[in-house]
Symmetry: C2
Subunit: 412 residues, 2 copies
């Protein structure tokens, strides 16, 4: 019964709400210590998951994401210590004003309460998500994938012990051990106990959560990111940015998936681009005009424009103007990250103003959309929706506000 | 087909996104002028709605909410002029920092895009909601109740004419003329075109929207607001606040619906309270202890604690401590507005810190939770959820942010 879990989470949350920063720091340090102390139990639990995964024929890449050794467990503990050192967002008063009737109205940052995270595969998310939620004063209910169940349980158990050892509520972290879909659906409708639900995983998971959840959701992740090479672009800069955004790490949401090239430079630029991407065996799927200008491209279909490949493939469109480029990008993007390479001032401003996305760049790689790169210290995900949080979400995005009002008998 | 409407709204939104404040002001003034100019057409359309409503046996109270005369139409126009004069929230850069690699990362306030509002009864919402959305750079799709359809259509038509007269996109406001439930459901799932959905109306409407919408929703409205009279309360102040919060206007979400009285003063306070509320024929539904202490109360059932009466009824519970009072309130409240009457410093802080609600008061009436009272100039509703906006929502709450990043060739 998730309801019982919800109740316990809510109770833990009201305790966390009143903790000062130093007590929360102590909890995170105790949790980090407990992870290191329980390293061998966690490795044993992980071995169970690995064995099952091998039997099920899991691919080498996924096996690598699942595997834990003492180094990776220590890295999780380190992660908790890093979060412990971040500034506590809770308690900040954003504004406080006296009204004409003498009421003093302040807006204060407070924890959300109970956060739920549904995630796939990587067991380190268990510790990472706990750390960010705990630091921001939230209790967390975690539902990981079945492949990592034993690992996740061992990690959560260690953290609970750590919290207990310093007199903090263990239910600040609870892991759902039932990985069925029915339980996932129940969690998505636990409105009385869960304040926010954050899915972390592939497009399929996110779609299921958005469609089935009545709990408020923050949509994260999918990134069909574009690089637009304007007519005035510095070719070297454009090639470097495209190479980096497309190939530095292909499986991430801020990788480039689609190129838009200004017609005026296409004939000169395309051969250089094809050559540069050949080094990484990137397949370029171009529109008709691009195919005419540059031999060796693969024809793109309509479906390509909206595709997040997460692979050594990129779509390519020729645009006759910046307006056409912006309209193409706004039509097919997922609201994640887009960049223009240009040396034209007006076009840089136009692109920044008119592109509808969480992060809009001039002359830089889309790969920078990331909590660490933005200086937040850590992130719980990258929001591609517009409500509450947009772009990399750090500790602040795990809080809400409440109005606190000081009166002396005012009535209307 | 709502999809066509959604496309037009999105196009209008991208135009609004680039408008400066003065052009938006011009649009609002033109819309206000058009409302006054079309006063007689709007009154005629309203007469149709009124006639149908009378035939359907609508109550006098609801008929009054539906009725429009030239005075009320002018008040709508005035409302648009007031919104025109408010500060434009769009374009504010909340922060801008240079990262170690030279990237300059700013966070800029931008419109949400397309807002949809589903509302009941009162036709003035048509103009009010348009005004706030337009000023904050959003296109709006409105779906009003069938009772006010002709009035709403006439108002929307006048506003569209006003916008057209100054060369602004008419589709900044679109009204859905089909008031069927199917169309409402379609609107709730128009994720590709609608960025936020705000329901305005009774608890039933809000529940339907929360349960059926895949578009992000901001939950507004329901208010089971409490007044807690602490042991150290000034009796006169407590009586004035309760009288005001309960009876000044009974049908609103910030009215008081439940009282919690500290045991130490209950015996002395209850008779005074009963006498004060008798003036307004308020029925007091008390717990067992209250019934023993004060004759003439009605017994409360469990259902009373969670009830938003919107009527001359109030529930009353005796609490042995502030902890018990806080725990009772946090269990049964709807996250709207709660107040403590006290002269004890520590208890005032404890209440402010531990009550989980959008607005928490010390020594003031809950009736102040309102955009105008808070100094926002106007409001689109009062959010009782924690994501994105909490409490009265003004123009700022109809915006989001995007990261704008200035580089000079940075790659990772």
């Amino acid at each position: 019964m998730l309801i019982e879990m919800g109740k316990r989470a809510k109770e833990a949350a009201s305790l966390l709400n009143t903790l000062g920063s130093s007590k929360k720091e102590e909890g995170l340090k105790a949790a980090a210590r407990a992870l290191s102390d329980h390293s061998s139990q966690i490795e044993k639990a992980n071995e169970k998951d690995m064995e099952k995964a091998r039997q099920n024929g899991m691919s080498q890449g996924l096996l690598d994401r699942l595997a834990l050794d003492s180094k990776r467990i220590n890295a999780m503990a380190e992660g908790l210590l890093e979060v412990a050192a971040l500034e506590d967002p809770v308690g900040e008063v954003l504004s406080m004003k006296t009204r004409p009737n003498g009421l003093i109205i302040g807006q204060k940052r407070v924890p959300l309460g109970v956060a739920a995270i549904i995630y796939e595969a990587r067991p380190n998310v268990t510790a990472d998500a706990f750390g960010l939620c705990f630091k921001s004063g939230n209790a967390v209910i975690l539902k990981g994938g079945s492949d990592a169940l034993h690992s996740n349980m061992a990690i959560a158990e260690a953290i609970r012990e750590g919290l207990f050892s310093v007199g903090l509520p263990q239910d600040a972290i609870q892991l759902i051990s039932d990985t069925s879909r029915e339980t996932a659906r129940e969690l998505m409708r636990l409105n009385d106990y869960v304040d926010v639900l954050i899915p972390r995983g592939g497009a399929g998971l996110i779609k299921t959560v958005v469609e089935n959840s009545t709990v408020p959701v923050i949509e994260t992740g999918t990134g069909n990111c574009h690089v637009f090479v304007d007519a005035s672009a510095d070719f070297d800069m454009a090639l470097n940015i495209i190479e980096n955004a497309k190939t530095q790490r292909i499986g991430v949401c801020n990788a480039c998936e689609s190129l838009v090239i200004h017609r005026d430079i296409a004939e000169d630029f395309l051969p250089l681009l094809a050559e540069r991407l050949k080094k990484h065996q990137v397949e370029i799927r171009g529109d008709e005009e691009a195919l005419r200008l540059c031999p060796g491209l693969v024809p793109a279909s309509e479906a390509d424009w909206g595709q997040e490949y997460l692979d050594y493939i990129v779509s390519l469109k020729i645009a006759g103007s910046i307006e056409e480029a912006i309209s193409h990008i706004n039509r097919y993007n997922t609201g994640h990250s887009e960049t223009i390479v240009t040396s034209d001032y007006a076009n840089s401003q136009k692109f920044l103003n008119e592109i509808d996305a969480a992060a809009v760049y001039v002359n830089a790689s889309t790969r920078f959309t990331d909590g660490n790169q933005f200086g937040f210290g850590a992130e719980i995900g990258i929001s591609t929706q517009k409500l509450h949080a947009r772009g990399p979400m750090g500790l602040k995005e795990l809080t809400t506000t409440k109005y606190i009002i000081y009166g002396n008998g005012q009535i209307r």
